[in-house]
């Protein structure tokens, strides 16, 4: 086999695998759309207000928001993403929340969750934010003491529950 054929073989194999990946993603999208709560698009992160599905947001909703960064103390790695405060204020107004409004961020696929209150979310120094993980899903990271190491972060987020007191 000559060089050209070898390169084409390798690139062809790579392209075939990538094509399969996108087909699988497409099928998953259809499947998740059938199983979701009607109003949500596949992959939307659902926001529940007082136990009721209120809305969902997608990647496009984050594009307009400003990104912030901090260096995590565990790995000294830069975490970059969107503040939870900015995401929520994109859909709600500040007066809809009280200082002790409880916000629960969870991942159904990983059975993980974290709970914060609005007062903490409002404080920019806490860096309660969503970072894009290595495989492109959202993860909750922060410098809050109970959320400042990898083991405490919530990956593959798909639900935010807001419970005003």
């Amino acid at each position: 086999m000559n060089q050209k054929k070898r390169i084409l073989l390798l690139l062809g194999g790579l392209a075939a695998i990538i094509a399969v990946m996108f087909v699988v993603e497409y099928i998953r999208g259809i499947s998740q759309a059938n199983n979701s709560d009607g109003e949500l698009q596949p992959g939307d992160v659902a926001i529940y207000w007082n136990g009721k599905l209120d809305l969902g947001f997608s990647a496009a909703d984050l594009e307009t928001l400003e990104k912030v960064t901090f260096t995590d103390k565990e790995d000294q790695k830069i975490q970059e993403g969107w503040l939870l405060k900015d995401i929520l204020l994109n859909f709600y107004t500040n007066d809809q929340f009280s200082e002790d409004t409880v916000i629960r961020v969870s991942s159904s696929s990983r059975s993980l969750s974290a709970t914060v209150i609005w007062d903490e979310v409002l404080n920019d120094k806490n860096f309660i934010m969503f970072d894009l993980s290595g495989r492109g899903t959202l993860k909750l990271v922060s410098v809050l003491e109970r959320l400042d190491v990898r083991a405490e972060w919530v990956q593959d987020i798909d639900k935010i529950e807001i419970n005003p007191q």
């Binding site: 390169i7 960064t69 894009l132 492109g136």
Partner: protein, 194 residues
């Protein structure tokens, strides 16, 4: 029958090792180098897979230093074991172990087709395929665990391109390092050591 007979018999019954002890030592050294680089080297680039630039360079140099089939997989597996124990990665030890190993397996597969790492075009393709192996595992774990599809789709295209580009750059860096080591006479020195 003296001691000489016993030595001959031991030699004849001893199974020949695929990798010599020296080669295992070298491959383990490269695996450690990957983990150290992963922890210590921080590029100020907020793109997933950017570590592939040094990752693939180290693996490709490793496969030239130990030019045997399976060397990249061995380096990948060793780096995966060390990293899993070190707690690296966002998605747990198993994900870390398999994704690090996949880099090596991908590199070995590419090396079956393109054997010459000194050719920079080949090296970039080998780096690309090797690093893609890691991405594939991360994606597969996402599918298996039922990760949200939409954000994966957002990240998928971007992360895929990022992984491929940084893998290719790492491959080129590895290829250039091999050329430099060859010029410096490192491989001739290594041949004497064997």
């Amino acid at each position: 029958m003296g001691p000489g007979y016993r030595q001959d018999r031991d030699k004849s019954t001893m199974k020949k090792q695929y990798f010599s002890t020296f080669q295992v030592f070298l491959m383990t050294f490269f695996a450690v180098l990957i983990v150290v680089a992963k922890i210590a080297l921080r590029l100020p680039i907020q793109l997933s897979g950017h570590s592939g630039i040094f990752w693939m360079a180290i693996i490709i140099v490793g496969t030239r230093v130990v030019p045997k089939k399976g060397a990249a997989s061995f380096i990948g597996l060793m780096s995966g074991i060390i990293s899993a124990f070190k707690g690296l990665g966002d998605f747990g030890a198993l994900n870390t172990l398999i994704s690090y190993t996949a880099v090596g397996v991908g590199t070995d597969i590419a090396l079956l087709v393109l054997r010459n790492q000194e050719n920079l075009i080949y090296a970039s393709l080998i780096g690309m395929v090797g690093h893609f192996g890691k991405f594939l595992v991360k994606w597969a774990f996402g599918v298996i665990s039922g990760a949200p599809v939409g954000f994966v789709a957002l990240g998928l295209g971007k992360a895929l391109i990022s992984y491929i580009v940084f893998g290719a750059l790492g491959g080129i860096l590895g290829g250039l390092t091999i050329v430099a080591l060859k010029k410096a006479g490192y491989f001739a020195y290594l041949a004497e050591k064997k």
